[in-house]
Point group: C2
Chain length 156, copies 2
DNA sequence: CCACCTGAGTTGGAAAGTCGAACCCACCCG
DNA sequence: CGGGTGGGTTCGACTTTCCAACTCAGGTGG
């Protein structure tokens, strides 16, 4: 009865099912930057128009984006992030920081984000409870679903 | 001469070119959990074996994973995250938190992460300079490449 | 010795998704 | 009227994915 496809139940997988397709997160990037029009998206992302159209439909269905007219007659539309969409920005920030660090010679970063405190944003993931920056060795995973244990950190 | 494909230069796009393909981030998830063997990956991710094999090659090439033998005779291998791979964990954490919040009825989370401080990990992206949690309206993007401006936050 | 198992993949062919260019439609501009 | 713009849709060629079956090497049990 068990289907031969029952991967680990996981919110990462669920999230990626919505935003993990090619271009989806780049759409979100542009929309968060305020570039929400179809032709802007095509140009700035470099995606085929048809793919972009299907991605936009999906993201709107998932309530990550909304489509609103910024002009009737002629009808013209613009996509914007919802609350849920904006809450994906941390994913973009951490990805960007990783890319800056590992894929570029540091100081040819194509974009710098300024924080309202006046400094350049260097995003750090911290623990809400203790406020400390989080690193791998501080984490212990506790699966909640029977049958889906983890091996735990492999001894060095 | 300008190719008809010049999307915005962007570290998010560059990072996604490496880890944005289907299953890649799930591979990283499993490997960070300590489940680094081929058949574990197949089972826990639910990916076709051939696709998984090409993803693993790619991630090893990108120095996000390493492949090491955990047994000669019989030869058996295990994939592990590199430093660079571990630095992608924040991406997984923020994705997981988003998925928990938006895709589930809060309290059927399939996995809980414990921080070494003793509390459940709730990851928060903060600004390294001022320490404050980051939210969208605190951010200003400064493109460094001529010709790639942004619209800026659209007035409500 | 032989059959069978496990781990770690590779192979082949059908099905699905992507790409790019061309097309469409409504509307505005001169 | 002719041309331009914004926001898509359609088409066919091409590329990936998927899944089952196969391989290969080295144990394991009888």
């Amino acid at each position: 009865m068990a289907a031969p496809k029952d991967p680990r139940p996981c919110s990462i997988a669920d999230a990626l099912a919505l935003v993990g397709e090619k271009y989806s997160l780049l759409v979100l990037r542009e929309v968060c930057l305020g570039n929400g029009r179809f032709d802007q998206l095509v140009r700035n992302i470099g995606a085929p128009r048809d793919i972009l159209a299907t991605r936009l439909r999906r993201l709107v269905d998932a309530r990550i984006l909304t489509k609103r007219a910024y002009s009737e007659r002629p009808q013209r539309f613009e996509y914007r992030p919802t609350e849920a969409g904006l809450e994906l920005e941390p994913v973009l920030m951490t990805l960007m920081t990783w890319g800056d660090r590992h894929l570029r010679g540091d100081e040819d970063r194509p974009m710098v984000i300024e924080h309202s405190c006046g400094n350049e944003l260097v995003p750090v993931v911290t623990c809400r409870a203790c406020g400390d920056p989080v690193s791998h060795e501080d984490l212990t995973a506790h699966p909640q679903v029977p049958g889906w244990s983890v091996a735990g950190p492999t001894a060095a």
